[in-house]
């Protein structure tokens, strides 16, 4: 999903996919896409020559990417997002010059 993080953690074998969060293997009711992704992961398991091997899958998400971007996100922001937004708000308020 975010293979750049695997790079940072120096993972042994990483298959990168550009799919929306929650859909690591592909789209709903698309067994062929899911199977291609799983098969690519298994092939990487066999073929990787050594540590920090990364292969990115050359497959576009089917359908409208903007819709997919919206659709993976929950209706309510997660607690850590709300918490972070509050921290930012407080920091901005503290930095504001007193009148």
């Amino acid at each position: 999903m975010m293979p750049i993080l695997s790079d940072k953690y120096r993972s042994s074998r990483t298959l990168g996919v550009q799919f929306p969060f929650g859909h690591s293997f592909g789209a709903v009711d698309d067994p062929e896409m899911q199977r291609r992704t799983l098969d690519a992961a298994l092939q990487l398991l066999v073929d990787a020559p050594g540590p920090e091997t990364r292969v990115d899958v050359d497959e576009q998400w089917p359908g409208d990417a903007r819709e997919a971007y919206k659709n993976w996100q929950p209706d309510e922001p997660s607690p850590i997002v709300l918490h972070s937004m509050e921290m930012i708000r407080q920091a901005r308020a503290a930095a504001k010059p007193q009148s």
Partner: protein, 170 residues
């Protein structure tokens, strides 16, 4: 790194979070590696998803109420998912992603049915009798992951003679 394509890791990430991930440190530990020498068609393969999947009626969901109270905490516990679980019995608790699609089709996140097909086709030797589900958001709960959940997954893999575990972040 090898391969002809380099994708955009941030394509589906809200722009506000990009800086945070870009600023994440580069780890400098020793390379992690285990050879995989067994032919795939003789190997037993397991799957792990961080999509917060559990089996309804048999397992509790992940503790999202505590996460709501403690936003920097994520439930670090484990849910084993047997390989023949029915779609109708699948539940999911995750506050960071929508789970509608995986509640309809578990294979988007934990492809137990696709793995079964690859076994039936002779591409893979066998599927693990149970796969693994965790909740992906780990911050304050990460120490439990290191000391308890991770070792428990490893022990279960050894007991089930799993040759490789495919880790799938949600």
């Amino acid at each position: 790194m090898f391969g002809a394509v380099t994708l955009d890791s941030y394509a589906f990430l809200p722009r506000a979070f990009r800086t945070m991930f870009e600023a994440a440190p580069q780890f400098e530990h020793e390379p992690i590696w285990a050879d995989f020498t067994k032919p795939l068609n003789q190997a037993r393969i397991g799957l792990l998803s961080s999509a917060g999947i559990f089996i309804q009626g048999e397992q509790d969901g992940f503790d999202v109420e505590r996460e709501r109270q403690e936003p920097t905490w994520g439930d670090p516990t484990l849910r084993p998912i047997r390989s023949n679980v029915c779609q109708a019995d699948i539940g999911a608790t995750h506050l960071h992603i929508r789970t509608d699609d995986l509640l309809r089709d578990i294979d988007v996140a934990l492809p137990i049915n696709r793995l079964g097909e690859l076994v039936a086709d002779g591409r893979v030797g066998s599927a693990a009798p149970e796969h693994f589900s965790v909740m992906g958001f780990q911050q304050d709960g990460a120490e439990v992951w290191r000391t308890t959940t991770g070792p428990e997954i490893a022990a279960r893999c050894h007991a089930a003679e799993i040759d490789a575990l495919i880790l799938a972040p949600a």
